[in-house]
Symmetry: C2
């Protein structure tokens, strides 16, 4: 592991690190905020998965998460959204390839060799974090924005007992049927739609749900509502009687100004579950 | 005036606008956060002046100011740091020319035609803001970071009664003697150092001081301490018995992680003065 930078931040440390990932076969970069409390022992860990076009950096500098995480004594990890670098496949479109990993293990050409973001987020990066930093494997929560909201929800439901709480900001909720989804799931996983189900939060909610509290925020003036389909997930949540809140926020769009506006609520929501 | 974007943010609006400036003779861009309260009448206005290499955007997306400004019902304006565009002089160095206006009215070639940032910040932009937005001319405060801290302090002291409070994050305090300063004041104002004095916060503090409370935060691990010279301003403040706090913050560097960490304190400090 290589330390790229460490900045003092809200009494703790905002670090950026890189490491060689077995899952992706590439060097991967991530941000990690550790609150002051981490100097005295392991602290709970909140995962923040980012959206299309983002790197580890966007939420780290724009979401304001550190202010609230410091208050609550939580660590926050900001992974990258795809493998990158020479020899890694890419596409000219902003929503496929580098910056658009969709948190799946690709099986199709040319993506299969490196696009293993599911394994990276669920296995490789956790192993590194729990061996190298003062973060507590038994107290994890997960959130994300847009494509990262999709990742947070599908991963949380697939791994019962790993995350005590899950949340999302304007998540892609039903990629099997939406424009942000069908294209990428076809490219990464192939045309057999049976392989897509575990990567569709609405389908997962219908079939199994999540074993903790959920919080979803969605801007009512989001310019991508037709690609996010909040009604699909909300309907599935309520049909299942899933414990959780689905909030439609008047006037907000898809930007980080929206994420930042409700970050305090999400951090406090997770803190409540993590310290219960 | 042209609206470039408006995003809902912490119950208010984060806007970006451009307008034709008489002072600079160019199109200028600025960010303006208006809290929800601005829908019902003029609200107090906090100026945030940015540092070297920044545009209107950096603090707007990285400082987290909106969270605290929304709580306090304050507007925050984020001006650009220099004129820009075709026909505007520039320099290959990051610390001269575009992105490095130093908040002076340049008198020297090639800068004189457009580099009138003093007039832009003290006259042009205020006129626009008070005619176009629900902000209260009688309740203004000012802050800034690095070169912007220099601008905030020198402008606040030069215009008694305009700002009820002033603050700065790691300001350039004594540009007449430091590497960030001598080069630019020579380039913009010429070699007669008598013209520099009004643009040196330490000299202004010695000669006149500020007619309200001051708050200065400086990171003790700032990589640019030799260019900022916090001891010069602190000494001048205390020698004058200037009402104010000068805080040296252990472990923090020059980055926006430092600014964000203490933004709540600064916004609350200004709110106290603005609502007194």
């Amino acid at each position: 592991m290589k330390t790229i930078s460490e900045n003092r931040c809200f009494g703790g440390t905002q670090g950026v690190y890189s490491h060689s990932s077995e899952a992706t076969g590439t060097e991967m970069t991530f941000g990690l905020f550790l609150p002051e409390e981490a100097q005295h022992g392991p602290v709970p860990l909140l995962w923040y998965l980012s959206g299309l076009t983002c790197t580890h950096e966007n939420a780290m500098v724009k979401s304001g998460a550190q202010a609230w995480a410091a208050q609550q004594g939580l660590a926050v990890v900001f992974p990258d959204t795809s493998p990158r670098g020479e020899g890694v496949a890419d596409d000219a479109a902003y929503d496929l390839g580098q910056g658009a990993g969709f948190y799946v293990n690709a099986t199709e050409t040319p993506w299969a060799p490196h696009f293993k973001m599911w394994d990276y987020i669920t296995s490789d990066l956790p192993q590194l974090l729990f061996s190298e930093f003062a973060v507590d494997e038994d107290r994890q929560a997960i959130t994300g924005h847009s494509m990262g909201g999709h990742g947070a929800l599908t991963i949380a439901m697939a791994l019962p007992d790993r995350f005590r709480s899950a949340s999302a900001f304007s998540p892609i909720t039903n990629p099997s049927v939406s424009e942000w989804g069908r294209k990428q799931l076809t490219a990464y996983l192939g045309e057999d739609e049976d392989t897509w189900g575990r990567h569709d939060a609405t389908i997962q909610m219908r079939e199994r749900g999540f074993d903790g509290p959920l919080l979803i925020d969605q801007g009512a003036s989001d310019q991508f509502l037709d690609k996010l389909i909040p009604e699909a997930l909300a309907s599935a949540m309520m049909a299942r009687r899933q414990t959780g809140h689905f909030r439609m926020q008047k006037g907000y769009d898809h930007s980080y100004f929206f994420v930042a506006s409700f970050m305090e609520d999400h951090v406090n929501f997770h803190a409540e579950a993590l310290y219960a």
